[in-house]
Chain length 423, copies 2
C-alpha cells in the first residue's frame, strides 16, 4: 500500500492541520519514495536527516502556518541558506548562499519543509543535466525545471518550485504528466533566484492539483488563501493554435482539436483566435539574448571556459553582439503584444493552446522545444498546463490554458471547469 | 597642487590610453584623497593594497579596455567577489558573495579598478549610515547612495555606482553638487544587486561630467561607446513642476523658474507641462510597499529583530498587509502613466523638473525627501541631475532633466546643451 507521498499538498495540509498526519511521517514517506526511485535522478541535493529535522521542528511548533509540514522541492537556481545552490553549473560548485531566496523564506514561514534541491539544467538554460523521465528513463523529463517536474510526477514530493524564462515550468510539467503553473509576471518575488532575463523570468509551481496552486499562491504572495472555485460557469474559450502550430506534432494537434470540441459540447463558447504580431518568438529570442548576455557577465568574463558551448557560443556571444536598438525594438513589440492580448481578453475568459510540441522526446541531450511556452512568457500572462492523456509513445500530453494578466484566480477557476471535462 | 583625483573618468581614461597616466598613479591619488578626507566616511570598505593590486594588473594588461584603470566606487548593495557586501545591515555582516554583480564584472572587463565599497543606507532604504555631506558634515549627503555621491563630490573617486528605487541616485548627487544619472528602466543589468522592488530598482551612475555617463553606458551595456553630442540644437523643453511642486522650497522654485527663463532666452521652446494622473506618488508607494515586503521576506522572517524600525514597521509590515488587488491597481496606474508620458514626448525633447525639495537638510537622521525622484523612477524614464548653483545655506542645488524612455542618448545630448547655458 502506498503512503502519504501520494497526497497532494493541499490534501496533506488538511490532514496535517487535523492532526491525522505528522510532518515527520509525511517527510519520511517522501524520502522513502525518493530513495526507492533514485534512478530518476531528480535531486541535486537531498539530505534525509536535514529534511526530517525541519519536519520535526514543524511538528513541535505552536503556530505552524498553512503549509504545516508539506515538503517542497526547490529548483537549484533558488538560494537556500542551509543547502548548496549550484545552478547546474561547475562554476557554482559548493556555493552556500548567505540568505534564503524570498520564496524559500515564505515557504519556511508557512511551515513548509524544504525537502531538497531539484536538478536544473545549466543556469535554467538549455544544457541538460542527469534527470530522466519518471515513466521512461530513455526520455527527457523536459527542462529546465527537470528535477521538480520529475520528482512531483514520481510522487517523491507533492510540490516543486520551477522557473520559466522560455518554457521551463510548463513544458517539463506537461512532459511528466503533472500540473504546471506560471503566474502573471512580477507577482512572485524573484529575490534569491538566479536572474537570467529580468523581463522574462518567472517563478513557477509544479504540483498534482489545482488546489495546490491556490495554496502556494497564498504562501508566495503572503496573502490570505483564495481557494479554487469549482462551481464557476462555462467559459468563453479562445482556441489559440498560435503562430507555432505547424511545429506541433499530429498527436498534439489532434488532442487540441478534440478538447476544443469537447469543451464546446460541454457548453463553452469556443472560437478560434489568432495572435498578433506573428513574429512574437523573434522578440522573445532577442530579449533573451540581450539580457542573458549582460546578466551572465560575471560567468562569461570570469569563468567562460566552464560554461557549456550551447550557453556561451549559442546565446551569450551573439547576445553581446546585439545592439541596444534591436533590444529596445523587441521590448516595444512585446509591450504592443501585451496590449493586444489585454484587448483579446475582453472577448475571452481563457485561451486554449498546446503545452508543448508533443510528448517528451527520446534522449537526454535536449529538454525539448519551448516555442509554445515562450509566447506566454513574453506575454506576462498566467498559464496552467493540465495533464490530458498520452501520445503514441505512451508518454503524457498536456493542454495549456492561458488567462488574462493579473487574472490568475479566474484562470484557476476556469482550469477547474476544463479539468472536470477532460475525461 | 592637486593630483589626478580631480580628473573626470573620461579625462582620466584618455590620459591612461595615451600613456601619460598610469592606473597605479591615478588610484594612488584617489586613495590619498580618500585617506585625507576620511572624515566624510564615504567608504564601507576600502583596502588600499587591494585597489593598487588591481591598478597594477591593469597597467600590465595587454588589452586593458575602455576604462583602462579608472577607479570606480561601488555601492555596498552590489556584490563583489573580493570585498564584503553588507547592504548597510548587521544581518549581512561579513557577507562575501560567491560572484561579482554583472555591473562589476563588466567594469572589471573594461579595465576598471574597483576602488572600494561605498556606504549605503540600510538596504538602500531610508535608515541612514555614517556618511556626512562633503561640504558640511552637519548635513546629510542624501541617500541611499550616500557614499558614492559624497566620494565623487569630494574627488575621492571619479565615478560611483548608485541605485534608485525612490530617489537614491538623483537626490544624493544633487545634494552633493555632482551629476547623477538614472537610465531607462531595465537597460542596466541588476544581477548581483540586492533587489528591493523589481518594478522600480535601477542601477545608476554618479560622476562629474556627462561624458562619464556615456562612458559608463558603453561599459554597462557592453556596447560601443556613443559619446555626448555637444553640438545639438535648442530643445523643446517641458517645464514640469510636477504634482509635488508645493513641497519644493523657495530656493528650488526660484531656481527652476530662473532656469526655464534662461533656456527660453537661449532659444529653447519652453512650455509648461502637467503630469497625469496626479496621484502618481501613491502608486509608487504602494508598489514599493508590496514588493519590498515580499522581496525582504528572508530578512523579515529570519532576522526581523536586526531590521530598523523604519524598514520593518514603517514599510514591510504595512506592505505585508496590502492586498494583491491594491498592488495590481498601482501597477496598472503606473502603466497608464508611462503611456501618457510617451505621448507627452511627441511634443517635448526633455522635461525640466526639480531634483529635490531643496539643499541637503541639516542632520544625519534622514537622507531627505525623494518625492521629486520617485515620480521618474515609476515612469521608467531616464533622468539626469546637473549641479545648478547653491541655496541659502551655501549647499548645492540641482536641476533634473527627464528624457523619453529609451531615449537616454538624446537626453545626454540635450543635457549638454542645458549645462552649457546654466552659467
Amino acid at each position: 500500500m502506498s503512503g502519504a507521498e501520494r497526497l497532494t499538498a493541499s490534501e496533506a495540509a488538511a490532514r496535517l492541520a487535523a492532526g491525522t498526519l505528522t510532518a515527520e511521517a509525511l517527510t519520511r514517506d517522501c524520502l522513502k519514495r525518493a530513495n526507492a526511485r533514485a534512478a530518476v535522478k531528480a535531486w541535486a541535493w537531498l539530505d534525509p536527516e536535514q529534511a526530517l529535522a525541519q519536519a520535526r521542528a514543524v511538528d513541535r511548533a505552536g503556530r505552524p502556518g498553512v503549509l504545516k509540514g508539506v515538503p517542497v522541492g526547490v529548483k537549484d537556481v533558488i538560494d537556500t541558506v542551509d543547502m548548496p545552490t549550484e545552478h547546474g553549473s561547475p562554476i557554482y560548485r559548493g556555493n552556500r548562499p548567505f540568505a534564503d531566496a524570498a520564496c524559500v523564506a515564505l515557504i519556511r514561514a508557512a511551515g513548509g519543509v524544504i525537502l531538497g534541491k531539484t536538478v536544473t539544467t545549466e543556469f535554467a538554460n538549455r544544457d541538460p543535466r542527469e534527470t530522466v523521465h519518471p515513466h521512461n528513463p530513455a526520455h527527457t523529463p523536459g527542462g529546465s525545471s527537470s528535477g521538480s517536474a520529475a520528482a512531483v510526477a514520481d510522487f517523491q514530493v507533492p510540490v516543486g518550485l520551477g522557473t520559466q524564462t522560455g518554457g521551463s515550468t510548463i513544458r517539463p510539467a506537461a512532459f511528466c504528466g503533472v500540473i504546471g503553473y506560471k503566474p502573471s509576471f512580477g507577482e512572485f518575488s524573484r529575490v534569491g533566484i538566479k536572474m537570467q532575463c529580468h523581463n522574462l523570468d518567472t517563478l513557477g509551481v509544479i504540483c498534482r492539483s489545482l488546489e495546490d496552486i491556490a495554496l502556494m499562491r497564498g504562501v508566495l504572495l503572503a496573502q490570505d488563501l483564495q481557494w479554487v472555485d469549482r462551481s464557476s460557469g462555462a467559459p468563453r474559450v479562445g482556441f489559440c493554435r498560435t503562430p507555432a502550430w505547424d511545429h506541433a506534432d499530429g498527436d498534439t494537434q489532434a488532442l487540441l482539436e478534440r478538447i476544443a470540441t469537447r469543451l464546446s459540447a460541454a457548453g463553452a463558447a469556443v472560437r478560434d483566435v489568432a495572435l498578433t504580431p506573428a513574429d512574437i518568438l523573434d522578440h522573445h529570442r532577442r530579449i533573451f539574448e540581450f539580457e542573458a548576455a549582460r546578466n551572465y557577465a560575471y560567468e562569461y568574463e570570469a569563468h567562460g571556459d566552464q560554461l557549456s558551448a550551447a550557453l556561451r557560443d549559442g546565446l551569450l556571444t551573439p547576445g553581446r553582439a546585439l545592439p541596444l536598438s534591436a533590444y529596445v525594438e523587441a521590448i516595444e513589440a512585446a509591450e504592443a503584444f501585451r496590449r493586444n492580448l489585454d484587448n483579446l481578453f475582453d472577448e475571452f475568459d481563457v485561451l486554449l493552446a498546446p503545452s508543448a510540441v508533443g510528448e517528451a522526446p527520446e534522449g537526454l541531450g535536449s529538454t525539448g522545444d519551448a516555442r509554445f511556452n515562450a509566447i506566454w512568457t513574453l506575454a506576462w500572462t498566467p498559464c496552467v498546463t493540465l495533464p490530458a492523456g498520452t501520445g503514441r509513445k505512451g508518454l503524457p500530453l498536456g493542454v495549456q490554458l492561458v488567462g488574462q494578466r493579473f487574472g490568475d484566480e479566474a484562470l484557476l477557476d476556469t482550469a477547474a471547469w476544463v479539468e472536470a471535462r477532460l475525461g
